[in-house]
Symmetry: C2
Amino acid sequence: MIQIRKLDSTAIDFQETLDALLAFEAETDFAIEQAVTGIIAQVRARGDEAVVEYTNKFDRIPNGGAADLQAFEIGQAELDAALAALPDTQRAALQTAAERIRVFHERQKQELQGFTYTEADGTILGQRITPLDRVGIYVPGGKAAYPSSVLMNAIPAKVAGVGEIVMVVPTPDGIKNQMVLAAAAIAGVDRVIGIGGAQAVAALAYGTESIKPVDKIVGPGNAYVAAAKRRVFGAVGIDMIAGPSEILVVCDGTTDPDWVAMDLFSQAEHDELAQAILLCPDADYIAQVEASIQKLLPTMPRQETIRTSLTDRGALVKVRSMEEACEIANAIAAEHLEISAEEPQQWADRIRHAGAMFLGRFSSESLGDYCCGPNHVLPTSRTARFSSPLGVYDFQKRSSVIQVSEAGAQTLGKIAAELAYGEGLQAHARSAELRLKP
Amino acid sequence: MIQIRKLDSTAIDFQETLDALLAFEAETDFAIEQAVTGIIAQVRARGDEAVVEYTNKFDRIPNGGAADLQAFEIGQAELDAALAALPDTQRAALQTAAERIRVFHERQKQELQGFTYTEADGTILGQRITPLDRVGIYVPGGKAAYPSSVLMNAIPAKVAGVGEIVMVVPTPDGIKNQMVLAAAAIAGVDRVIGIGGAQAVAALAYGTESIKPVDKIVGPGNAYVAAAKRRVFGAVGIDMIAGPSEILVVCDGTTDPDWVAMDLFSQAEHDELAQAILLCPDADYIAQVEASIQKLLPTMPRQETIRTSLTDRGALVKVRSMEEACEIANAIAAEHLEISAEEPQQWADRIRHAGAMFLGRFSSESLGDYCCGPNHVLPTSRTARFSSPLGVYDFQKRSSVIQVSEAGAQTLGKIAAELAYGEGLQAHARSAELRLKP
């Protein structure tokens, strides 16, 4: 039996209880911060040599470790071989997923084309979109190595037109995850290096003798990697530092309760801190979902993780109505929001904040995690209030373009000078005034 | 006489010298970090009371300070009065600038409409764009209070459709900058509170009894404000932490050298750390610009700041060709790039990285700073390699929309299950498989 928290939105202390349940603040571990600071300084000072030393040590590279960074290169032939060696069904699944991800992200690229317009006096204004030159993708090694993450991080960069995509992936004990290498081959990663940790982040950010510095680093990692990304931010761009994964299911009580139970499990199985919450106006249905949870949990290989996650951070919430469920969903601003209901669009229209919305009972989050096409890197911990899924736009940037005509300089120059004098910036004013005709 | 550094791109140590000149790393001041951590903790624990205490103290509020936060509210009537009291030319200039900024940012909004498409089996995929609910705008008080910054930060938020825009602006010694209040009236800021510093950032991020928490905080501030923004990032979104401002002028030698000298001054007058660099293939022209600098500097009210900035961080660089100038400009990835040349578009086509490009000799940066329309909040310190001007998109976020049809669930479910089993995530696989028809 698993004890899962049951809440009722009519309870006086509901808001307080919900806030406590949602609260998650990543702790700052000063020992990690300190270690990472040291590693970055060493890599900046000693380049390849430091990267090799740290990698040999932290990843327990066998046979006394590698002699140089060259030894960690994983060449195109090796990637292709990994792809060729996959079971046919797995290779086909990866390829179809990649193609669908590519199609969705091409739509993102089409949307962002930049613009330009010419004013009556000939002044031209616009916005130009250009891809990043070079991007680093961090892929965790070992058990948490997910080929789907390689696709989700690399394909948007590729679609954006990034000049060079460099992937780093640690090979603990010298072991390479073949499915990850196959995914790199499919995604068209330009270079793969078998290094990881803060040393790989530092090498990507600042460059070494054999690694050119990149402009942005994306991808998930452990606490050392997250700390290193925070630390190098500014020298390079980074993606969001992800918190624990979350699912919020808003259900009108018409979906098979086994399906909803399994959807909650699929989030909870990620890790003990993952959060799975159900909002439903139907108390009887909630009881059915709970029964499904009790029935299905013993069948799950990762049941211990699921149990801890659901017990510590999960909840089944009885709400007054689907309208109220949508209000609560906006406050939660979940990473994944399933609206498992008849005519889901009516409820989706009420949602302002969610990383990804899964509408209707056939749209399980797991389909989106792998192969629908939209990205599975999504804002966690209520950051969907202000941030977006990873996308092509994360690998592009905008530049304003301003071409003022001689006539334009006459009208704009007077306005600029007036405001510049008002702000006490006389060189700004004079610079505008010099362009005025006498 | 001012000594300004002269470089030649053919020198053996040119790259090294340039790199050293460009290098800028914001130092971490642990005393500031510690003070800010304490202030934020106090505001989270004691709300309004702490904000009032800190404000009375740090801003030297007269008459023994304010009794409550209500006393710091600056109501709509006061904003309107400030606008009405401006000299006519200044009010007209602010209004015209605001209108032009609005028009440009409306174009940004038009570009980003989201999309949706339906696949053959009825599966619907899309991306929805929604505005942020509530945004905080930080405006510095005292001497560095710039009404143009109020327009540049608030108008994109307004155009995006942000529900509520809350502006905080400290009033040192109780003095309110009337031009800033007038700009707030024009921009349509919803609420103005006369508080600042880390305490204002904390109040916006976490909320107090009388301030609702916002979703994002933007706008420039001193080292305490920057530290506080970094610290609250995650709980709320923030804009980039700006480094010193920079201008790079690429000139073919056909622009009046006085104009180029004044354009360099207009950046250098901002602060001693500002950076102004000229790239030009014509040595004689560089000498003319230097003569203009010597001639014009004594006429500038802010000549001491300009002198320090140009001496410490400026340079006049002789390059081999305009082509090489463009290459160097890409490596510098300047915040402001002026291409002061005949037929500037041919050179603009070679530029990959710049916050804003000013094309042709009439496009002085100062016009863009105030009234061309594009934003003047731009990526500094080479971050234009991976980031963009502030824009409407900073006040919007995207949500993926996934509505899988029953038929779609059959094909996608098999792919997702295959990949999920490959990653050892069985609940993911089962969740997809439950939707398969028997």
